[in-house]
Symmetry: C2
């Protein structure tokens, strides 16, 4: 082969073959496609095309469409929990800690709209992909224990009600934020309002913080 051809291809991309980079491009493309069209609606050809990878690679790295979906989903769960860990809840006063948690959830959904539709897809197929994920289990346990600790601390300080279960609280915080976004399209029709205008968003997050504070705090 002519040496100048090789030099050229090297100068354009420093590494023609980069397994990690390819994997990542596939995962990003898959995240987009799965979240946009659901698990069944997603097309592996579309993912490969968008990832600028050959479809063969997709099967090489992830075995199957479901294997790819599983990986995407696990990464997403890992990501939200990692971000959550960064919140400095322990050193905030009780109401502020609570508000921070609610606001974090809200903003995470805004910044990562894919998360919601991916989770919806996973629930449609009854969580088959994550059912036996040890990673997810570990990370979830840590997360719940943290919220429980927060609750316990504030109960001791006589700010929060005593009978609140951390799981129920978490479900409630997630629900009032999650539902608003996942159902914003049918919601727009039913309530005849734009769910995503800055004013609507502002109104809703304020309402949600109020909901949670009233639920948890002693009055």
């Amino acid at each position: 082969m002519p040496p100048e051809k090789k030099r050229m291809s090297i100068s354009v991309k420093t590494r023609v073959r980069d397994a990690e980079a390819t994997k990542l491009r596939i995962l990003e493309a898959a995240k987009k496609e799965f979240s946009k069209n659901g698990l069944e609606g997603a097309r592996v050809d579309a993912i490969a095309l968008d990832a600028k990878a050959n479809k063969r690679m997709l099967y090489h790295y992830f075995k199957s469409k479901d294997g790819l979906f599983r990986t995407v989903l696990e990464r997403e769960y890992l990501n939200i929990r990692t971000e959550e860990t960064k919140l400095d809840l322990e050193n905030l006063p009780p109401r502020a800690a609570l508000e921070t948690l609610v606001r974090f959830t809200w903003e995470y959904y805004i910044k990562n709209p894919e998360f919601i539709t991916l989770v919806n897809s996973e629930n449609l197929c009854q969580a088959v992909h994550i059912k036996n994920s040890p990673t997810l289990r570990t990370v979830s346990q840590k997360f719940i224990r943290r919220i429980q600790a927060l609750l316990d601390r504030e109960v001791r300080e006589n700010v929060f009600r005593e009978d609140i279960d951390a799981a129920q609280l978490n479900i409630t915080i997630a629900s009032i934020n999650y539902y608003y976004f996942t159902n914003r399209f049918t919601g727009a029709v039913i309530f005849e309002r734009d769910f995503t205008s800055p004013e609507a968003l502002q109104e809703r997050i304020t309402f949600n913080i109020e909901t949670i504070c009233r639920l948890v705090c002693k009055n």
Copy 2:
């Protein structure tokens, strides 16, 4: 043809051809299939088979897969609003009216699990099917006005807070119930509990009523 054959077929089914019955069978089968597998995952062949109808009839009555989905969805929305209308909220004391409304939503989701997944599918495709439905618009407006009237009455009687928006309240009531069911599969993995055991259900509905009462009522 031999006359006894005709008599027999009449004695088995009084009407061999019944357009309305066929339509209904198709709609019921479609509701099952769409809610189980989503819009993209649903198979028209499976619907036709389950409905004991020929696939051609499906296209004859509903034009397309999407047309069928649209009809299913509209019927479901109509159904929940009709059931809701039967609640005698106007003649109940304030807290009882609120509790009745929350409990109705909860129980409706339990009795009609298909509703939730159908709505999820519709939101995945950005509500294209119901976007311009006049029926849905009418029925939704009526529903919101009713809740607003309830709020207004109780504000006058000084039981509820004054600044509650009916739409925000409705969204919140729906969310804390809806989310619990739609995410029960991933929830079971994350929270390591059975979301559908009688005890879990009891605990959650109690928690939800408490959440809404604390949100709306003056303390």
